[in-house]
Each structure stands twice: as C-alpha cells, then as structure tokens.
Symmetry: C2
Subunit: 210 residues, 2 copies
Amino acid sequence: MDLHGYYRSSASWRVRIALNLKGLPAMHLSHHLRKGEQHDPAYLRLNPQGLVPTLSLDNGPPLTQSLAIIEWLDETHPTPPLLPTDPLRRARIRAFAQVIACDTHPVQNLKVLARLRQLGLPEDTVTAWAAWANTEGLGACEILVANEQGPFCFGSEPSLADICLIPQLFNARRFGVDVSAYPRLLQAEAATKTIPAFQDATPDRQHDAE
Amino acid sequence: MDLHGYYRSSASWRVRIALNLKGLPAMHLSHHLRKGEQHDPAYLRLNPQGLVPTLSLDNGPPLTQSLAIIEWLDETHPTPPLLPTDPLRRARIRAFAQVIACDTHPVQNLKVLARLRQLGLPEDTVTAWAAWANTEGLGACEILVANEQGPFCFGSEPSLADICLIPQLFNARRFGVDVSAYPRLLQAEAATKTIPAFQDATPDRQHDAE
C-alpha cells in the first residue's frame, strides 16, 4: 500500500496511526501542501479533491477520505479493533470522530484559512477563526466523553476517537487554544503517548518533516 | 425514536431519508436554527454541539452526527442496506459521503456563514463562499462516480452516497451554483425523485416548513 500524505496533515496523521495500530506497512509518499503539490494532475487522478490522504492499493481503486480509509482498514484487518462491536458504542465513537473530522478540522484547514486570507482578513482574524473552530469542536468532544471510562476516549483501548483527537489537539495548540479546558481529552492524549503506534505517527517523525 | 431536526437542515434531511428508506417511524421534533433554539440548555444536554440532528432512543444515549446515526440505523436495521457488503465498495461510498459531510456542508453551514458576516464580509462574498464550497465538493463527487453504473451514485439502488447528495444539491442551487456541470449527480438525483422515501424527506414536506 502507498499512503499519499503530508507530515503535518491531520487527516494523513489519522491514517498513519491506524496503519501503525494494525501493524501494516505502507510506503509514505509526500505531497507538499504548501507548495500545492496536491494539485498535480497525476495526483488529482487519485484524489479528485486534491486533498491528502489517499491510500493506493495494489488491487483496487484508490481510497480517499481518512475516516473511510480507517473504516476500510478496520473491516479488512480487524485486529486490534478501532471500533467495538456494539452498534450504540460504535455510533457514539463515530459521532466523536465526526465532530472532529466533519465540523472542526475542515473549517480550519489550509484551504479554508487560505481563502480567508484571500478575502483580505488579517492574520490575527484568521488565527482567531481557526481557534474558534477548535474550541467549538473540542469543547463538544470533552462533553461527549465526560462520563466515559478512561484512560482513552472510550475505555481501556484506543479507538477511532483517539485517532481523530490527537492531531486535532496539535492543531488547537498551534492556534493558541488553551487545551487545559479539556481534562478528559488530555487524559486520553496522555494514554496514547505510551503507545508506539501513536508515537511513530507524529509529524516530527515523518521523512518529509521540516 | 425522536428525531430532533429542522426542516431545512441538510444533516437532518439525510437522516429523514434513511429513516424513510428503512421504514422506521420517528417523532420529528423541530429546533428552529435561525431563532437559535439549538442552543437551549435542554437541547445541549442531548447534543453538546448545539447542532441538529440528534436521534433520541428509548433505551440508550442520544445519537448525534448524521453519518454516525445513519450507520447505526444500517447496522441495527439492515434492510434495505445503505452500504454494500464489499469493504472496497463501502470505502468508496463512505468517501463520497464524507466529501459532502466533512468537506462541503460544514464549510458552508449556517454557523460558518454567520461568522463570515460577523467579520464584516458583505452578503455577496458570503454567498460566493458557500457557492465555492459546493463547487469544490460536488465537482469531486462527480468525478468519484463518473465510472460507476447508474442510475444512483453507486449502482441500481440508493445508498449513503445518494442520501448525502440530495440535500447538498439543494444547497448548491440555493447558492447559485450551476449544477448542470454534474450530469452524473443529476442522473442520481432524478432516480431518487421516483422513491417515496426521498420524496417525503424534502424540506417542504416537513411539519416545520415555512
């Protein structure tokens, strides 16, 4: 498998964690987002959005969208599971993941912030926008897991929720959000830091890190 | 089941289609988004994001996030299926759904457009923003299904992809997007129009329609 990504892309980071948890090797191919390499025609044939990640398979069409890729990994390589078997628990964990992957990250990604700048908004307004998106999303996530047993978001093992949480906390800090308001999320983050699959997926450990 | 929604909410609309396809009755409770009713403390206890939809169950926690709700419906009421059994096909359909539910709709929803207005941007700029988000998303969706057999997005039966597509086409038109650029998507839309489950879910047929 080839994972088309970028070291600092949150969505690529999610898939890196999932691949590592499953113990699956992949060639990591970098597309420099700030240089616009994701808009190369050859890459657009794999991913018509011009976004990372894309998972290229030997036998099969390219897979796009990080959550779809991770669910595919979980369905085809079930151990360890990234979602439990109980439908209600699956729904709760997916909802947490989607708060981040639908309502938080896309509202503050590179593309949206670039457009805000194009509209003439000053840099501090752009940063405040990104911080707002993170505060709204992570605040809801903190409530969603408030009554869940730790140390991870949903219990004693990492799940799709933790996979989405870790890169988002990185973003939140980058935009100056005071993450101490989210003690349960920080507890989950601390638990992931002991796991090599999470350690090896961080941006600073990727071959294209700057 | 109680579905907390709003007649014009795209995400509520998706869940209405899914409930109808499954033949499941639900009480439809309206929260007037433009009056801010989604921020009532009683509702925030069900949905800490203050967004619709939420599915309240007799036995179980409230379920939030439309895609998580729809996957729960599909897992607990498998007929008719909203996703096929083949993992690769599931991944392709989920990716299509997420192009809309992650990268398109949240970038142009009520909350984001309200914030753009708060930043002092004029109405035509706000509308152009929403049109841009729709054009980017639907353009990618058209490519994702270009080589798929119709008449629906992915084959001869409606799926999660069609459920996400229909409300987004409504949005795109509302913001002035020329949807004739997406013939495959329009073919899928035409196919859904013959199905009562889709017909009955449109905003104009809801009890809170204005």
